[in-house]
Assembly symmetry: C2
């Protein structure tokens, strides 16, 4: 239609929906035999991440990884997932859980990878010991085939035929129009070199959130090193354990910087509470006891000590770096050494070191000084010209309230709207499944129009976002601001972020095209508003001059 | 000195410290034999609630209650306490825990009662099964005597002599001056008729927080009724179980209204998550299974289902009443029937029904309607003239942000600054002990000047308090506003509340005199400021006219 001059490019961009885009990226079940579909159907859960997947059932992350290494296709079936399962989740074609909602660990992690995921399938009766699951009286065992449809939440027995999506050439053209129109950058959340490469393919202009702790879970060596650090009694022992992690982290960062080639990479220092890293079973405790050279009961006692009533509000984020500066020091060393080394190879590198969970300017200032105290001597010694920024997440209400003071030293803000939503609304993402559906259901209480973890609560949480940006820029007018929560890939939330003057939004790789579309639609809509305010009768007239100006605006984008 | 006209009453009030007052209320160890003190000393914990107590060690709440019923004096020793222990805690002379800080469950509950409490005594190695504890190699068993000094945190073996405080007559005179000077009301947090009587003695002008759920723990019958409600499958079964609680709640409310005789009583509807009420051991599950006529494994499964990752941010407060309106209906019926019945006896009654954990105006409006739908017909049928208010806690950041809209229907706000601090700072009161000391310690990070759970974080959390009041009164200019968090009994926090225009502060009964002092000091200080702004050289001159005007201001107090 644009070719035939029936509509403008802006109108075309305005007509596309996020669903139109999502549909293009995910495999679908291609089985057309309806009676086969019907007889295979065994029930359904919540459609957490769209797309279809078929594989053999594995009930533990370890089994899933082993099967994957043997070349098998795997569906990982768990009651719920935890960070320890990430390796197995990554190895699986699709993930199926018996509990949890669209914001459960499984759903959020899978969404980040664009991996088919069905959660909260309460019909599953999983027997973890026997490695079986029973659904409506029928028992499925490890190795049985299962097909999931993440778009509908349907679960099928057996291996149904799937079809891969083929991106139509029009998609690239459309995305090109979006990129010309929009002025806000789109970054992605990526934790590994392979994620980073994928992100570039999807059009990401930087990494807005690189979660360093995922690097601690990949492989037994790394897990044991972080676990040894955790149970250590002295700073010396912690430093020793951390030094084992250093080369792994450095290598990961090198891979990421290499893939991003000068595009900014925001690296968040350690975020989750330490108990997320500890071994959960007797065998794990035994192995750790051996490696850490510490009696088993002492290891167990140390792990017990770490238990928290409300881990979300506990000893995590930068609080860990206040207590254990050596963690921050190791991570910063790895980041800067990697940056220097990649820069030496002639590539551009631009790391942005991000402090999570900040609540006070003094807390930030202490950590910012520690970061620079590690980073600057490395750069100087290498005679490198690497530049880096130190900034913070704004994810606790107090941080938004104190943004003017925090921005005195912080060079950038990234709104962690997942946690900001949790704290501002007093809602645990993991537990809200029990009552939030009723709050959102328009046939029930209908207190909210949408799940606030999917769609940013603009009128509540949004006030703190607005306040945080305004106050931050009142101290530091050129403060770089972005968002790295789930909302960074949701249409209305991204438009809100654009309206607040953010420099970029960041989302999972698979949502980057949606974010590009949303940023472009924001420009089209705000131009239309301005134009209709001037000349109410001449809506189309506003579109043309905008396209002419676009290259200038594109150039004006702040990276 | 006032008698001798050396200083004015205002100056006298200004010179008293909270510690001066606290000291007058708590028993002290009167043992003067220093060598005996030294030989009895076995170590120390954190001084959570001042005063001294001696008693025989009991390791479970049940043993403590049984011993108390036999006329024994008890020190309850626990690793940590939970709401299920409240009966045993109440029965004890003093409470000693191995874990937790000044804001742990044990500390907060004990502070409410002014009961000696030492927490976080990590030197204790408690063996709950054997009912023994070992300290530095020496083992103490159930029934052994122990003396605690809650003012210092010291723990002594054996029974040391204690001395009860004698209130000097000057205390009453001083408090009288405070009452004449101050314009802000002082209420108390009280959950039972006996608390209410105590509160009146301490000078409270109303109850600012009556926590109804404490009523569910007193006695096995009540516990089983609430537990039966929790595991019930249908609304009918829940209503049936709740109807068993109704007479207990009604009787408690009657006792409270009777004691308060027309003073306002703010009653908070159910607040904690349901899992806090469930049985924790096999015997409890067995008994519940019998009473609820439900197989044990189903009871267990239902309890397991209730587990939450972050209960503080979970299915609690008014969220329970959205999901289970029958809980609210039973509680409102009990409150209003009690009010009508006490009013019939010729007493004045003024209940204020408070919705906890509100985050949205629609949520409040739904519940307010439900309250009135239960209350009004009861009042009408009884041809009673009882008046009541419906208002809300402001304890989640979003509630403060949306205060203008919530105040459209809410007739009063009570700032729950404990939870507001938790959410605004992303700090769990139960877990902060692991890192908060370092944040507060002026020799370490010194990020905060004081523990924000003890002293209100005026510059952070205080912004939301200020915003909540301003926005609430922008919609409803005569909005009644108070505070019912721990901060309502802390000097600087109370002064802050006065400065924000609150109508009242509410605190534990034993802190009422401190709150009265703080409110008076606020007036003295703000008058002095105004006066020195006018006539910088005549500070004392400001005091006299203030005293003359005082009766008028006293009359102007809003109840």
């Amino acid at each position: 239609m644009v070719k035939e001059r029936l509509i403008t490019k802006e109108e075309a961009v305005g007509r596309i929906t996020p669903e139109d885009i999502e549909r293009m990226f995910y495999p679908v079940i291609s089985e057309t035999d309806k009676s086969k579909l019907k007889s295979s159907y065994i029930g359904e859960g919540i459609n957490a991440v769209p797309g279809a997947a078929a594989g053999q059932i594995m009930f533990t992350a370890e089994d899933a990884e082993n099967a994957f290494n043997k070349g098998m296709k795997v569906i990982l079936v768990r009651k719920e997932t935890s960070p320890e399962d990430v390796g197995g989740m990554h190895a699986a074609q699709g993930i199926l859980t018996a509990t949890g909602g669209k914001t459960s660990h499984a759903a959020v992690v899978a969404r980040g990878w664009g991996k088919c995921c069905v959660v909260g399938a309460e019909i599953l009766d999983i027997n973890a010991e026997k490695k079986t699951m029973t659904v409506k009286g029928k028992t499925y065992k490890q190795g049985d085939w299962l097909t999931l449809d993440g778009s509908t939440g349907s679960i099928y027995a057996g291996q149904l035929a799937l079809k891969d999506p083929i991106l139509p050439p029009e998609f690239k053209v459309l995305m090109g129009w979006c990129d010309t129109i929009r002025t806000v950058n789109v970054r992605t959340n990526a934790d590994s070199p392979s994620d980073a490469k994928k992100a570039i393919e999807m059009g990401a202009e930087g990494i807005g959130l690189c979660r360093t702790e995922h690097m601690f879970f990949e492989g037994r060596d790394r897990q044991l090193a972080i676990q040894t650090m955790i149970v250590a009694d002295t700073k010396e022992d912690r430093v020793k354990a951390l030094s084992k992690l250093l080369p792994y982290q450095r290598k990961d960062f090198e891979g990421i910087f290499d893939a991003m080639n000068g595009k900014p990479v925001t690296i968040r220092l350690i975020d989750p509470p330490l108990h997320e890293f500890t071994p959960k079973d007797a065998a794990g405790i035994k192995e750790l006891s051996k490696v850490a050279k510490m009696p088993e009961d002492k290891v167990r006692a140390r792990i017990d000590q770490l238990h928290e009533s409300n881990p979300m509000l506990g000893h995590r984020g930068c609080r860990l770096c206040i207590t254990y500066p050596e963690i921050l020091e190791m991570q910063v060393q790895a980041i800067i050494e990697a940056a220097v080394s990649v820069a030496k190879k002639g590539k551009k590198v631009f790391p942005e070191i991000m402090i999570p969970l900040t609540i006070a300017e003094k807390e930030f200032n202490i950590l910012e000084e520690r970061v620079r105290a590690v980073a600057d001597p490395i750069i100087k010694a290498a005679k490198s010209k690497v530049k880096y920024l130190v900034g913070t997440m704004i994810e606790i209400p107090r941080a938004a309230l104190m943004a003017n003071r925090i921005a005195e030293k912080a060079e950038f803000f990234s709104f962690g709207t997942n946690d900001l939503t949790q704290m501002t609304m007093g809602l645990s993402r993991d537990d809200a499944g029990r009552f939030l559906p009723e709050y959102v259901d328009e046939k029930k209480a209908a207190i909210f129009k949408a799940d606030p973890f999917q769609v940013l609560d603009q009128e509540g949480v949004g006030q703190l976002v607005k306040m945080g940006i305004e106050r931050g820029r009142s101290t530091r007018p050129n403060l770089k601001v972005g968002i790295c929560g789930e909302h960074g890939g949701e249409l209305s939330s991204v438009k809100f972020c654009c309206a607040q003057g953010m420099n970029y939004v960041s989302c999972s790789p698979y949502r980057v095209p949606i974010a590009r579309l949303a940023c472009a639609q924001y420009e089209v809509e705000s131009k239309a508003k301005k134009s209709s305010a001037k000349k109410p009768a001449a809506k189309k007239a506003g579109a043309k001059p905008m396209m002419k100006k676009a290259p200038a605006r594109k150039a004006a984008k702040r990276k």
